[in-house]
């Protein structure tokens, strides 16, 4: 077998194993939350009788191990069950939210990834001169401000004062693509500001690292211009760490944006998860946890595989 196929297969197997481990953790985690589902559904209105009735009905009296395997097998068949709180089919409502989350993440990624890499390249080209310093200063400032504050500031100036984009980014299926893009403009802007610095700085560092190599000097001596050297010789060799950090940020855009969702009232997966955590809707929390774990593990796997493929020594073994 080609060693690269073997390596990739190993990565995939490891990913799946990791996913199973994550599922155990998710299940165990939801068991140790204080209070139980019945109590959370009824809240302040819980009485002894209504609690007992609800627990019985929700099957909370069965042992945890039995519940874990039941849950895992149906999840593998694509059946995530129904939400305890409102009886909705989880796969269906989660699917809708996931679509929204992926839409927002994709919009933010389309803006931020090329921007970050371009800015990184510019920063390298003008290293230690004012463009480099300006780029670093601006991106490090936006990453240092908490995202909810960035959100409020943008909402105040752009939505309330100027009226350019709505502060409530509630997208719905009836909207046209253009309307949707306008609706998510503010959250996309905030997310871009939040992830930009990380990717930009990594790009800059990775390329600068390569720039020390002898072949870069050769390229320069060959008479290539600064940007050409970076684009043709430095960037391809610095791709592995850049892809790594890009994937990490993409994962963040999918699983970590609940604060931005709340500030802009975006109907995404994060808000959906939080709502159900506070109601102890265990099946939903587990399903979301599983999706988040899959996204995280999946994207990291992609990063690993890309860096394997980007390594010529692995692509062309002797």
């Amino acid at each position: 077998m080609h060693p690269i196929v073997k390596l990739v297969a190993q990565r995939l197997a490891l990913g799946i194993l990791l996913l199973f481990a994550a599922s155990v953790l998710i299940f165990a985690g939801t068991q140790i939350l204080p209070g139980d589902v019945a109590q959370s559904i009824l809240g302040q209105s819980a009485t002894e009788t209504s609690l007992a009735n609800l627990r019985e009905q929700l099957g909370l009296n069965e042992p945890a191990v039995t519940r874990y395997f039941k849950w895992l097998f149906s999840a593998l068949q694509g059946d995530l069950g129904t939400a305890l709180t409102n009886g909705a089919d989880i796969a269906e409502s989660l699917g809708k939210r996931l679509k929204n989350t992926l839409f927002l993440a994709a919009c933010a990624a389309v803006v931020s990834v090329p921007l970050a890499i371009t800015l990184g390249l510019i920063a390298v080209r003008f290293r230690d001169r004012w463009p480099d310093k300006l780029i670093s200063a601006v991106t490090l400032t936006t990453i240092s401000i908490p995202e909810f504050l960035l959100g409020y500031v943008l909402a105040y100036f752009i939505a309330v004062k100027l009226g350019w984009a709505p502060s409530v980014a509630m997208i719905s299926d009836s909207m046209s693509l253009f309307e949707k893009l306008r609706t998510v403009a503010l959250p996309v802007a905030v997310l871009t500001m939040v992830v930009l610095a990380h990717m930009m700085r990594m790009t800059r560092a990775a390329i600068l690292n390569v720039m020390q190599s002898a072949y870069i000097e050769t390229a320069e001596l060959k008479g290539l211009s600064g940007l050409e050297v970076i684009r043709k010789h430095a960037l391809p060799n610095a791709i592995a760490p850049i892809v790594n950090v890009v994937m990490l940020n993409l994962a963040y855009l999918v699983v970590g944006v609940v604060v931005v969702e709340v500030v802009f009232v975006y109907p995404g997966l994060g808000q959906y998860l939080v709502d159900h955590v506070s109601k102890r809707d265990v099946p939903v929390v587990q399903a979301c946890g599983l999706i988040f774990a899959a996204v995280y593990i999946g994207l990291n796997m992609v990063a690993d595989i890309v860096s394997i493929l980007a390594n010529p020594r692995l692509r062309h073994p002797k």
Partner: protein, 529 residues
């Protein structure tokens, strides 16, 4: 000049002049812009409702785990949605009277044990089915019984039997209750086809609006019910309820015109927000209150001297000023205020008195170890800060309080009604009987202060059956005094409902029963063209 203004107002009332035009002309005559805006609003208001348009409300208190089942409604957004598509037998008016709705007429036997509700004829559900007395009985049945997971379970518990006679539903109670019609105004008891026994989540009712789409925790859209039985509501063609839980997002949605009305304006920003153009902040004093609860049967608080010391060691006015920013009024350690019928306003107001508090504290013989006060953001907005203020004012009386902040998560199951001393809130009830029966009757499930006095229970039951208002008022007054002096309740403040509405919304009226006109604002307000 007055004549000219009057002329302009008539033009407005005849819908021949826009706000912009009116304000422009009025200011040209030397009227301030703010006054002109108010004049315009009054002129439009006087002209009566306009039909058409869309009303959008941004409400807090919704989650993607919500359902349309009226029995499970517990938070504001779900309450607003329920009101918009459903009706109850009766409503409670702004001045505290019972208003017939799906019941046309209510009569009782002289002993207040049997109540007859004559059900309105010719009312159609959204699915085209006619509403019948059978549906009413089925609805009440669904909320009764031990297996009902209903917020109205305690309310319908006292029903012994129900009978249908033509268009009359006769309800017999196990115990006389002069206030029974008020209980039927509870929003959980929304009348559903076959009582919602077939599908409680269907969202089919007799209300002013028909649900078009419902995405829990995000948005619910409605269109006007063309067969509505009540023509004095449902002015807008469409209603949208958006769930916006973040307070800042809610205010900015209103400011940027994405919604027309919002609930729960943070008192901290209400004053500032009111200065913004195109919107008004509305605060209405209601019956809701923020409390500190001492459980009388615990080792510490079994001592009434200690309870009294703590009641005297809290600075109520400071709480109203700093926690509610003036959007509220001081409490007096019993859960009733002037918003209730039969309130006795001669009961002396308890003041902050560190010296007497210190005296009582010494008398109680407390060992001087810190008394743990549990609090959380979940208890009420500003509960953590309120507990800290309490700690400071008690320190001045030499009473050591230790504030322990608990997570919001699980507060209602792990702390409230469990720990000896904690912060909490009550949203109030339409009548005194209901408030006392819910939380101060010995056998009540929610008797969080463990107030168990046979003589208090006896007075409550006597007042329940008493049809003479003077005698009832006297009984309630004695109960209030008793609770105030011996109970485990520290009630520093009654909170106002603080809403904000856009100036394009007309017809808003203060309603002490709840925020946003007791959630009727979406169907009773209208928008200018």
């Amino acid at each position: 000049m007055n004549e000219k203004i009057e002329y302009l107002k008539r033009r407005v009332a005849a819908r021949k002049m826009s706000r912009r035009e009116f304000v422009g002309r009025a200011t040209a005559m030397g009227v301030s812009a703010a006054a002109a805006g108010t004049m315009f609003a009054n002129a439009v208001q006087a002209a009566g409702p306009i039909r058409g348009g869309t009303i959008k409300a941004g409400l807090s208190g919704g989650a993607s785990s919500d359902t349309l089942d009226p029995a499970l409604v517990a938070s504001e957004a779900t309450h607003g949605i329920l009101r918009t598509w459903s009706d109850t037998l009766v409503n409670v008016s702004r001045d505290g009277a019972v208003v017939p709705r799906l019941a046309e007429e209510i009569t009782s036997s002289p002993d207040a044990k049997t109540w007859n509700f004559r059900i309105r004829k010719g009312v159609e559900f959204h699915n085209g089915k006619t509403m019948t007395p059978e549906d009413v009985v089925a609805t009440i049945e669904r909320h009764t019984g031990d297996d009902a997971k209903s917020g109205a379970q305690g309310i319908v518990k006292g029903i012994e039997s129900m009978a249908i006679d033509g268009d009359i539903v006769a309800i017999t109670l196990s115990q006389a209750n002069a206030d029974f019609p008020y209980l039927m105004a509870d929003y959980h008891l929304a009348i559903q086809p076959n009582g919602g026994k077939d599908d409680p989540n269907a969202g089919i009712g007799t209300g002013a609006y028909i649900i078009e789409s419902n995405e829990p925790g995000v948005r619910t859209t409605f269109r006007r019910n063309p067969n509505d039985w009540d023509e004095n509501r449902g002015y807008a063609d469409n209603v949208e309820i958006l769930v916006i839980n973040d307070a800042t997002a809610r205010t900015s949605a209103l400011q940027s015109g994405q919604v027309d009305m919002i609930n729960r304006v943070d008192p901290k920003v209400a004053g500032l927000l009111d200065r913004a153009p195109n919107l008004t902040v509305k605060n209405v004093s209601g019956r809701g209150h923020y409390v500190f609860i001492m459980r009388i049967e615990t080792d510490e608080f079994v001592n009434n001297d200690l309870r009294m010391a703590l009641k005297l060691a809290i600075n109520r006015q400071e709480m109203v000023d700093k926690i509610l920013r003036g959007y509220g009024s001081v409490g007096n350690d019993f859960p009733i205020n002037a918003a209730y019928p039969l309130f006795d306003d001669t009961i002396e107001q308890r003041e902050y008195d560190p010296e007497r508090a210190a005296e009582y504290y010494r008398k109680s013989g407390h060992d001087g170890s810190p008394i743990i006060l549990r609090t959380s953001d979940a208890a009420f907005p500003g509960a953590v800060e309120a507990a800290q203020l309490f700690q400071e004012s008690a320190r001045a009386a030499g009473i050591p309080l230790e504030v322990k902040r608990e997570p919001s998560d699980g507060y209602w199951s792990e702390v409230w009604n469990v720990k000896p001393f904690c912060a909490s809130y009550w949203s109030g009830r339409p009548v005194q009987d209901q408030m006392y029966s819910t939380a101060y009757l010995s056998t009540a499930e929610w008797n969080d202060t463990q107030w168990k006095r046979p003589e208090f229970d006896a007075m409550l039951i006597e007042a329940k059956a008493e049809l003479d208002p003077a005698r009832r008022k006297e009984l309630y007054s004695r109960m209030a005094r008793m609770l105030r002096d011996e109970g485990g309740l520290i009630l520093p403040m009654f909170n106002d409902f603080v809403d904000a509405i856009s100036t394009r919304v007309m017809g808003y009226e203060d309603d002490p029963n709840g925020e946003l006109m007791d959630h009727f604002a979406m169907q009773r307000c209208w928008v200018e063209g």
